[in-house]
Symmetry: C2
Subunit: 282 residues, 2 copies
């Protein structure tokens, strides 16, 4: 499935995602990778383990074919504003942000005014730990790569799709920023909000010896990077708050049936859940 | 870690839990197992794969050392009422129900009036599928075995602990029915209610291509046996409704901070979740 891919790639931000992208490019493709990070120690660590070919500098921007901005949403926009004019038309810029509407609107405008090519993307992968130390080449194996073209050319979308396939992603999905954000509010942001809300119960501290897979699953992502997730949540506040309303409403319906001792109503609610899972073949 | 264990064991109900108990007794101990199930085809299936030594009958009750009632809560009580007098003092009876206060109160009273020995228990293990076909000897590997003695002798508690160790459980925990039910409402019942409430969102049907581990984890147990879980929920209605109130309250606090765009308040809430996980070493 791996394709020949030989590009000059730049990666800004060598954290979990950027570090894993670098390692995957080096391990699975013929691309050369130059890495940027505000922390020189991280760049050195990436050099030491050959995750990157070399440390990048401003002189690299006009020579790159593909530049990933693997930093927090606002930082990605700030970087594009500061360096977009140097990057020029020969390089496709993409981000890796978990929210797209807010980021893509600003990036698209900057790409037009500063003259670089842009398409948004979101590698749907993560781990409980963050930072370069947690990165690995195999992070994207089996994952989805979501592309929000936002006016990018078909050739640029194809370039991202070929890249995703080479890096080990299972599939690429092309959609709009708005659709991405509505679905991601449900699939990713709600579970993270939920994990934190769940472990706030006073019972949580007593769970040892009384828990099995279902506790572990719901609580897993409570070990959160609250700075990153606060930014992600607030950048998608409308769709996320709406999804939380939906969940709170459905949970309240279950709670009311339990409190009323209404077995018929309760069984009907649980059955609805089962039928959704069955209809999805899960 | 396996101990020598040579008992005459009876198992009533050869579903996921009863079937797995039978297979574990046969694979890891020297016990003989006679199996009971209201469905003769299930008993035959258990015989065919040597999960049990033989089909049990009423004549077995006085000859057993240990009898597991691995059926739904009300069915366990009904079975004890119907057969408790035949069982006699030579056999320790235990159940496997996921709720303990309601079941143990009735079982303790029956054990006194009908003259059998009883201690409650709850093997904290499960799978997404149910029935004998889903059972396996290794189901309890790494799991907790919770014992609610309810007046049982220290020797009987020790017998259950030795049995649990032989069957592969990681640990036994001794507690009261009330404490069990309060903690289980949080660790097990809330995640099941939550999984069903979560997948009711209209966004769920679009998740394919937009989801990763956190969706899979929260939704996993929505594939529920609604008949069993309705009985379990209603048998523990007070503690479960209280835990759902707590979760709904904490989720609402997150939702309100998101909707207000209050980054400081939101980060503080997420941090609380992270600190709980860290304090538990998870």
């Amino acid at each position: 499935m791996a394709e020949d891919l030989s590009l000059r790639v730049g990666i800004v931000g060598l954290g979990l995602i950027g570090g894993s992208l670098a390692k995957a490019f080096r391990e699975y493709t013929d691309c050369t990778v130059c890495g940027f990070d505000r922390d020189p120690a991280v760049v050195q660590a990436a050099l030491d383990c050959s995750a990157i070919d070399r440390a990048g500098g401003e002189e690299d921007f006009p020579r790159l074919d593909l530049l990933f901005l693997a930093v927090y949403p606002q930082a990605a926009v700030d970087f594009a504003r500061a360096h977009g004019a140097q990057i020029g038309r020969s390089c496709l810029v993409t981000d890796t942000c978990g929210v797209k509407t807010a980021v893509c609107a600003q990036m698209t405008e900057l790409s037009r005014s500063l003259g670089f090519r842009f398409a948004g993307s979101h590698p749907m992968a993560g781990r409980e730990r963050s930072g370069f130390g947690a990165s690995e080449a195999s992070l994207f194996r089996g994952a989805s790569y979501i592309i929000t073209p936002c006016g990018a050319s078909p050739e640029d979308v194809t370039l991202l799709q070929r890249t995703a396939a080479a890096l080990g992603f299972r599939q690429s999905v092309v959609t709009t920023p708005e659709e991405h954000d509505r679905i991601i509010a449900f699939t990713s942001q709600v579970p993270h909000a939920l994990a934190c809300a769940y472990v706030m119960s006073p019972q949580c501290l007593k769970h040892n010896g009384f828990s099995a897979g279902s506790y572990r699953d719901v609580s897993r992502v409570a070990n959160i990077n609250e700075t990153l997730w606060t930014e992600l949540f607030l950048s998608n506040a409308g769709p996320l708050a709406d999804e939380l309303d939906t969940l709170i409403g459905n949970l309240s319906a279950v709670r009311d049936a339990v409190r009323a001792g209404d077995g018929e109503r309760l069984a009907a609610l649980l059955r609805r859940g089962r039928l959704v899972k069955e209809s999805l073949g899960e």
